[in-house]
């Protein structure tokens, strides 16, 4: 055990900004990626299911 207090742990021998800035960004990215995936999955419902409604498949002359 290297740390005699939580304050010491947070301080990281003076390098707290760099160490927690690194671990913190990793946590943020993890949260962003998982939230993004959940969000993309939820939006699946709004996708057009019917071929006729799908804009990508609309015949050119109708555009």
């Amino acid at each position: 055990m290297n740390w005699s207090s939580l304050a010491e742990f947070a301080h990281m021998g003076g390098y707290g900004l760099y160490v927690w800035g690194s671990f913190g960004m990793c946590a943020l990215v993890l949260a962003a990626e998982t939230w993004g995936l959940r969000s993309r999955r939820r939006n699946l419902r709004q996708l057009p299911l019917d071929e006729a409604d799908d804009l990508e498949h609309r015949p050119i002359h109708e555009a």
Partner: protein, 243 residues
């Protein structure tokens, strides 16, 4: 039963769904163990103090940035050669996760570089080639998004991915081939590691944690991509409604 039956998106979807929780659980447990080893157990470094602890996220992110790209290039090649949809979907699914790993490698590297080297950035071979890797990921995703026809997009992006694959050995061997500010390899397949055992243990556990996380994220993403692309198929309907 041939494993190639899982090349069908319809069959791969539930397989990925069953595997996903295991990888997620492994990622969580390994992360907790790795953080404990790295932040609580491992001693302070006599040269770098506690700033060296960034290694426990920097190295895993960097390794995953390369592994994800190699996997992406592999599946892109399979998709291109065999014209299979699922392989291309996997390549597309790998890109955002790989890009995040690359960003994290660069970000944590900069935060480590400032107290250690006195600078956030330097245009040495390793850092520059890792930055190029990020551009390649972004290029892959942008090119794919720019082409309306999904299969044509897959093929064009696959070509880009394959051409860019040469960058990965450049990143890896850069510290041997050139005079770089970035330090050389501390772990190799042929020699004993040059770092303390507890630190090495923490680094390896965290690398495994990142790897499990990446697999879980990519499996989750490819499942969404499968549903997006196969939404006109009858088997996909109930799954879309449940999503």
């Amino acid at each position: 039963m041939s494993w190639t039956r899982y090349a069908a998106p319809q069959r791969f979807y539930p397989l990925a769904g069953r595997a996903l929780p295991w990888f997620a659980a492994a990622a969580l447990l390994l992360t907790l163990a790795g953080l404990y080893i790295g932040l609580v157990l491992a001693p302070t470094d006599h040269q770098q103090g506690d700033s060296y602890r960034i290694i426990f996220v920097h190295v895993p992110a960097a390794w995953m940035s390369m592994i994800c790209y190699l996997a992406l290039a592999f599946w892109a090649a399979v998709g291109l050669i065999f014209n299979t949809r699922l392989a291309s979907m996997l390549a597309v699914a790998l890109a955002p996760t790989g890009a995040w790993m690359t960003f994290l490698a660069l970000w944590t590297g900069a935060l480590w570089g400032k107290p250690t080297w006195g600078t956030w950035w330097v245009w040495d071979a390793r850092l520059t080639s890792e930055l190029i890797l990020l551009f390649l990921y972004i290029g892959f995703m942008s090119l794919h998004a720019a082409i309306d026809d999904e299969r044509r997009a897959d093929r064009a992006a696959a070509l880009l991915a394959l051409v860019g694959a040469v960058n990965v050995p450049v990143i890896y061997f850069s510290v041997q081939w050139w005079n770089t500010l970035h330090q050389g390899a501390s772990v190799s397949l042929t020699q004993a590691p040059s770092m303390a055992r507890v630190m090495l243990a923490g680094m390896l556990v965290m690398t495994l944690a990142f790897w499990m996380y990446c697999i879980a994220a990519v499996l989750a993403r490819v499942r969404v991509i499968i549903l997006e692309r196969e939404r006109h198929a009858r088997w996909a309907r109930p799954l879309l409604e449940a999503a």
